[in-house]
């Protein structure tokens, strides 16, 4: 279905392009999903990482229009990438994309007055615009009302009512769009539409907004807008969720629950996927003749890509909960609760989400830092996110802990020594993140504290369709982003184990190109107590941290090895000293052994500067930590 659609997108250049604009939490994405269903695709705008959601609006098997779902914004000051892109799209300044033929401006009608500030700014663009009063049911239920006809007359644009959650009113939007198509050419800007525009662009910023506000006040009064009563449910929930004592407790309960779900519920699914990959690998290898191709396919691609696909259940479960938390309105409250603590270490409330996601995987976590408006806050967040103990570190920790830490009680029967070390490693990551953020915000990213503002939308039931489509999106992005890199890296690594060829085929691993590289870097890692074998593991783990487990298995001559393998644990105990093993654990806690993360940071920060700085900073920290551990223990 997707391919078919992409073909179509090329053919439909003459179909109108309609932009969906609106503030965050106005129900824009839910309406977009209602209008386009699965006929949508996600790409990036050229040169930046803001996602471009484009979908087809069909009616009776005819493509009526292409819809683009613009990021939710509060204004056009272009402080954030989202705002800049929205402005550029609406002004027709995006390469390879025509200026939209019309704007469907979606507002949360329960907050009409504050949303009209943005409507004013959109109207100043002089594009044909439809104003959508969304959440009509909620406005009515809470005793609010507005005269849509009067509003339409005053603004000089058509106005329709919708209910994003039930889908009521979407026909009205489709009707508006099909009329655009019917006319074949888009109506030129009428005087009516110009009426909304004040020639205010040259005014100083305060006057410009004051002018708009004045207009909004007039519009609201002309259209007899009666604001709804504050939502009783939201008020009640907030009195709990933002309560001095209950608030933080609920916050911790939510965090623990999300954690728990990533680490327990995902496990059977992950084991299932692992089993599928292994068995299918065995089937394929039985079916294929013993050639280099089989070795590439099974040892290289299958194992490498498999090591990524395994994380998919965790990522999806994490994003399911994040989706529920965001769409229900809790995430905004969580950011407010986290803000004080985050502020003290130089971050802000919105950094909470990326840092939490970092426990599953740094790649989607770094992507989710986009909502942070302040550039320096965002950079600092991206910089420290990889210190969160991602799930790829876990197999490494489990292997080394099982091999070197005795399974004995610690602090009475309450904790086991192994569990204690694991908790310490998590704490080490958090400590490194805090110290790093603290230093960064006082040196390189020094700035006036940003005016952290968080709008608290009313609590709402998340829409299943929107949740489902979001999961589909996230899964696809994770697989393609991470998959591509790991695919490349594993092929390169595999090739390095195959040369130089001997008369019997591939060389012993110590003689291979990879083994030689291991020997070359041995002097550098000797002060940490690591030999060439660990050196090779460190290199291969650049693909993904847990790859070191498989690599060490290969080097020590295990047929199959995983982190539970007793043989591998025994082999490690013989060749790695206890202090060196502690050092290796600390190295993995700090070092950025993940090319997928480096590539993501490069894209998100627009260059190599921050990505390479972060990589070397974390490497130095990991190296020094391992060095100290080797001396101390």
């Amino acid at each position: 279905m997707t391919e078919h659609f992409e073909e179509n997108l090329e053919d439909t250049a003459n179909v109108p392009l309609i932009a969906l604009a609106g503030a965050p939490n106005s129900g824009k994405t839910t309406l977009f999903n209602r209008l386009t269903g699965l006929r949508q695709k996600v790409a990036n705008y050229p040169g930046v990482t803001v996602e471009k959601h484009i979908g087809e609006l069909r009616s009776d098997d005819q493509v009526l229009a292409n819809l683009v779902d613009l990021p939710g914004i509060h204004g056009f000051s272009a402080r954030t990438l989202d705002e800049k892109i929205t402005k550029d799209v609406l002004e027709g300044d995006v390469a390879g994309m025509k200026q939209p033929d019309a704007v469907v401006m979606i507002t949360d009608s329960t907050r009409l007055e504050s949303q009209l500030m943005l409507v004013e700014q959109v109207l100043e663009l002089n594009l044909p615009t439809l104003l959508v009063l969304n959440m009509a049911d909620e406005l009515e239920n809470r005793g609010g009302s507005v005269n849509a006809e009067a509003l339409a007359e005053r603004l000089g644009i058509p106005v329709v009512w919708t209910n994003g959650r039930t889908g009521e009113g979407t026909e009205a939007i489709i009707g508006y769009i099909s009329k655009l198509k019917g006319k074949n050419s888009i109506p030129s800007k009428s005087d009516d539409q110009l009426k909304g525009s004040i020639h205010s662009h040259k005014l100083p910023v305060l006057e410009r907004f004051s002018e708009r506000k004045k207009t909004v006040k007039e519009v609201v009064s002309d259209a007899d807008f009666i604001p709804p009563e504050p939502s009783a449910v939201s008020g009640y929930l907030d009195s709990l969720v933002l309560h001095k004592i209950w608030g933080p407790m609920i916050f911790f309960a939510v965090v623990v629950f999300v954690f728990q779900s990533i680490f327990t519920w995902a496990v059977p699914l992950m084991e299932g996927i692992e089993f599928l990959i292994e068995t299918s690998g065995i089937w394929i290898s039985e079916a294929l003749p013993d050639t280099w191709f089989k070795s590439l396919l099974i040892d290289g691609i299958w194992a490498g890509v498999g090591s990524v696909v395994v994380f998919l259940p965790q990522i999806l479960i994490l994003f399911l909960f994040i989706g529920i938390l965001e769409d229900s309105g809790y995430m905004a409250r969580a950011a407010v609760i986290a803000d004080r603590v985050m502020y003290r270490i130089g971050l802000q409330g919105k950094a909470f989400l990326p840092l939490l996601s970092g426990y599953a995987c740094a790649v989607p976590a770094i992507l989710s830092a986009r909502t942070i408006e302040d550039d320096r806050d965002r950079l600092a967040t991206i910089f420290v996110t990889p210190f969160m103990t991602c799930s790829a570190r876990l197999p490494v920790y489990v292997l080394l802990i099982a091999a070197f830490i005795p399974n004995e009680p610690f602090m009475g029967t309450f904790l086991n020594q192994r569990a204690g070390v694991l908790i310490l490693l998590y704490a080490l990551g958090i400590a490194a993140a805090i110290v790093t953020a603290f230093i960064l915000k006082r040196t390189l990213l020094k700035a006036e504290p940003s005016a952290f503002l968080m709008e608290l939308p009313p609590y709402r039931l998340p829409s299943l369709q929107t949740l489902g489509l979001r999961l589909l999106d996230r899964g696809r992005i994770f697989l393609s982003r991470v998959g591509k890199i790991i695919f490349t890296v594993t092929i390169i690594l595999w090739a390095l184990t195959q040369f130089p060829r001997t008369e019997f085929g591939p060389p012993e691993i110590e003689q291979s190109a990879l083994g030689q590289i291991g020997h070359v870097i041995e002097p550098a890692i000797e002060p940490l107590g690591f030999d060439w074998r660990i050196g090779i593991g460190l290199i291969t783990s650049l693909a993904a941290r847990e790859v070191i487990v498989g690599t060490l298995g290969t080097i020590y001559g295990m047929e199959t090895a995983d982190e539970q393998s007793l043989d591998l644990q025994g082999a490690l105990q013989e060749s790695v000293s206890f202090p060196a093993a502690i050092g290796l654990l600390i190295f993995f806690a700090f070092a950025l052994q993940c090319m997928a993360t480096v590539a993501t940071v490069r894209r998100e920060t627009g260059g190599w500067k921050w990505a390479s700085f972060q990589f070397f900073y974390m490497l130095v920290l990991g190296y020094s930590g391992a060095f100290l551990a080797f001396r101390i223990f």
């Binding site: 509060h74 204004g75 000051s77 910023v205 305060l206 506000k213 709804p228 907030d238 005016a451």
Partner: protein
């Protein structure tokens, strides 16, 4: 208890949003921040002359304010840059 009357003689714009009691509606007089930092506030309707009403505080004591029917959480440092006056001063 201090006599209530002294309030009236106060210069009204000395009052900061951060000091306003919950549920007390006030009018914004000015924003004591450079324009580029104040712009996000402008966008959300924090403009001189608008009505603001603190509705609750966050667990850490930062105000959550109603502006034009939207609820916005501010840091108290920011709230203390917003000069307001009580409606009785009008």
């Amino acid at each position: 208890m201090e006599p209530e009357k002294t309030v009236i003689t106060n210069v009204s714009s000395d009052l900061r949003l951060g000091e306003v009691q919950i549920s007390q509606e006030v009018e914004l007089v000015s924003i004591d921040l450079p324009d580029d930092q104040a712009e996000p506030l402008f966008e959300r309707g924090f403009l001189p002359g608008c009505r603001l009403c603190p509705i609750r505080s966050s667990p850490s004591g930062d105000p959550i304010v109603d502006v034009d029917g939207s609820q916005v959480a501010l840091r108290r440092e920011v709230a203390n840059c917003l000069c307001v006056r009580t409606l009785s001063d009008l």
